[in-house]
């Protein structure tokens, strides 16, 4: 069973909750699909058994010797990545989308493409199973593609090691990497918090998972920070046909656990938070809502 944990936005406690689930009972394959800012490896310090590089895209580079500064490439670039400068025509590394058009139309063959291959995909073991995660090099695109690779790898690990449960800690937002994180999963868990922004982001995240028809559950984290808002969120969820499966109290021990590189279920197994999370996880695994 593949379960994706998403949140519409970062900082709602998605990784802390994923970490707690990952350290409860059965061995699991844990995948960190927040390839922009992978964090779970900090808690779990996995053994890196495999490291693969990932080509996140390409960038156009100008050969000064061949360039005549004719500027034809500038007029063709849809990304406004090419401009005149005192040194001649330059291509902005940050704006280039890697479409190859400038290379193709340059009459002097002065432009070539180079691979961005600084991104990495890691596979290894951690204390409760296997772990797969990606790290996208700063500024690179194609995170959706890297997420797909991470998930493919996770499925192989699940088969090879007989660990049936795959936990996916998803990226923030509602864009391509999130979609790549949830397509084909059995369940989506949206983590939200009782604030105006929390509800707003939840609505957008629920739209995305809803559009894929995936069974979706909601966890309200830090619920007691604003009980009234938590009630509002719960009512909204009911109207949308979404089950709120847990209201987790605000608990500074969750941060303490993180600082000590532990999940809350490892750090304070008897705390109220850990107990709620344990019950919630059981419910998720057994398909209760």
């Amino acid at each position: 069973m593949e379960i994706a944990i998403i949140s519409g936005k970062g900082g709602t406690g998605k990784s802390s909750i994923s970490a707690a689930f990952a350290t409860l009972a059965e061995p699991v394959v844990l995948t960190d699909c927040d390839v922009d800012a992978a964090n779970l490896y900090i808690l779990f310090d996995p053994e890196h058994e495999e490291e693969e590089s990932f080509v996140g895209g390409e960038k156009a580079v100008i050969d000064r010797e061949l360039c005549t500064n004719c500027g034809i490439c500038i007029s063709y670039c849809a990304f406004e990545a090419i401009s005149f400068s005192p040194e001649g025509v330059i291509i902005s590394e940050t704006a280039c989308d890697g479409c190859h058009l400038c290379k193709r139309i340059c009459p002097h063959g002065a432009i070539h493409m180079v691979d961005n291959d600084d991104s990495r995909l890691y596979t290894g073991s951690f204390r409760n199973g296997r772990m797969v995660y990606g790290r996208l090099a700063p500024g690179e695109e194609n995170s959706g593609k890297l997420v797909n690779l991470v998930r493919e790898k996770a499925r192989k690990q699940s088969k090879a090691f007989g660990m049936e449960t795959i936990i996916i800690d998803g990226p923030p937002g509602i864009g391509c990497p999130v979609i790549s994180s949830i397509t084909g999963v059995d369940q989506v868990v949206i983590v939200t918090e009782p604030s105006l922004s929390g509800l707003h982001d939840l609505e957008r995240a629920a739209d995305v998972s809803g559009s894929f028809g995936i069974q979706t559950r909601v966890i309200i984290n830090k619920a007691d920070l604003d009980e009234a808002m938590s009630d509002t969120i719960e009512t909204w969820c009911r109207e949308r046909g979404l089950a709120v499966v847990a209201r987790i109290p605000f608990n500074p021990e969750v941060v303490e656990a993180m600082v000590n590189c532990k999940s809350i279920s490892e750090w304070a197994p008897d705390s109220e938070t850990s107990q709620i999370l344990r019950e919630t996880w059981k419910g998720i695994l057994h398909g209760k809502s």
Binding site: Y76, T94, L101, L196, S197, D207
Partner: protein, 296 residues
């Protein structure tokens, strides 16, 4: 307040949830209540939230579009040149069956296929990616919101359009998107100074390291605001010292701050001293950025 060149300040964080919007909205509120002409641009186009903190009238909104190809099957010879030129696999072609399709979701709007087609079979049409909305607040202040359509491959074009809409003649605060990939880069690329909001935890430090590394490569000056101080450990402060990054402000980890923010209110409602603190923050940013760019 000293005279200063209008600055573009990006409030970024490496990752969501560290208090970026808290800082952006409070700084913006402080500046406008001190009559400093300012625009706030919400560049977190995937989850724009800044508007929730302000009362404003929608003044203008426009769709951000991208050009996608339209293929005229009567003119198409199924030569496959457009397919060859498309680097995003957005053109599907089966010449024997005389089938050709554009997969709009994969198209990046580079225009290569149009250039490739020698038979004039390809024209372009605009496809909506999202919307930019400008809200008028008190006086001449405004809030610009970039909002991406669900499922669009990248928010970059919508973010760029939002920043453009804010203009140049005044202070601009940009609430940046999380992460260090393209949307973040496109936002900070247009900033004069980047404020990184983080928290003193291992997750916070890890994300901060990545953001700092990226900004160094881009040669962008930056400073740090530590949110939720009192939590976590000292490693973050050691890192700031090591890297010689200015600590601009600290916000304590307090339940009533979280509560005030969650209700969509400003910190000065909690304690008027916050307004002074945010004004000091602005002064510090001008100082940090002031050495080479403008006179004080």
């Amino acid at each position: 307040m000293t005279d200063h060149k209008p600055l573009k300040i990006a409030i970024a964080s490496g990752k969501g949830g560290t208090g970026k919007t808290l800082v952006a909205t409070n700084l913006f509120h402080t500046l406008i209540s001190n009559d400093i002409k300012t625009s706030l641009v919400d560049c977190d186009a995937e989850a724009p939230n800044a508007k929730l903190f302000f009362e404003g009238k929608l003044e203008k909104s426009f769709a951000v579009t991208q050009q996608v190809p339209v293929i005229d099957e009567n003119l198409c010879t199924y030569c496959g040149k457009c397919y060859e030129y498309c680097h995003y696999n957005a053109i599907f072609i089966l010449p024997p069956a005389r089938v050709i399709k554009v997969i709009e979701d994969l198209c990046h709007g580079c225009g290569a296929c149009t250039v490739a087609c020698k038979f004039g079979a390809i024209t372009e049409k605009p496809m909506p990616l999202g919307e930019v909305r400008r809200y008028a607040l008190e006086g001449s202040q405004s809030l610009v919101e970039s909002c991406m359509k669900t499922g669009v491959f990248s928010p970059v074009a919508v973010i760029k359009a939002g920043i453009k809409e804010a203009g140049n003649g005044q202070t601009v605060i940009m609430d940046a998107p999380p992460g260090t990939s393209c949307p973040f880069i496109q936002t900070v690329d247009r900033a004069d100074f980047v404020v990184l909001v983080t928290e003193p935890t291992p997750f916070g430090l890890s994300d901060l390291r990545q953001s700092v590394e990226t900004l160094k490569r881009m040669k962008k000056p930056c400073g740090v605001i530590v949110n939720r101080t009192g939590l976590g450990n000292h490693a973050l402060y050691d890192f700031l010292e090591q890297e010689d990054i200015p600590l601009l402000m600290e916000i304590p980890f307090e339940r009533n701050i979280a509560h005030t923010y969650a209700q969509g209110r400003k910190l000065k409602d909690l304690d008027p001293a916050w307004e002074t603190r945010f004004l000091n923050l602005f002064e510090k940013i001008i100082l940090e950025n002031g050495n080479s760019h403008h006179k004080r």
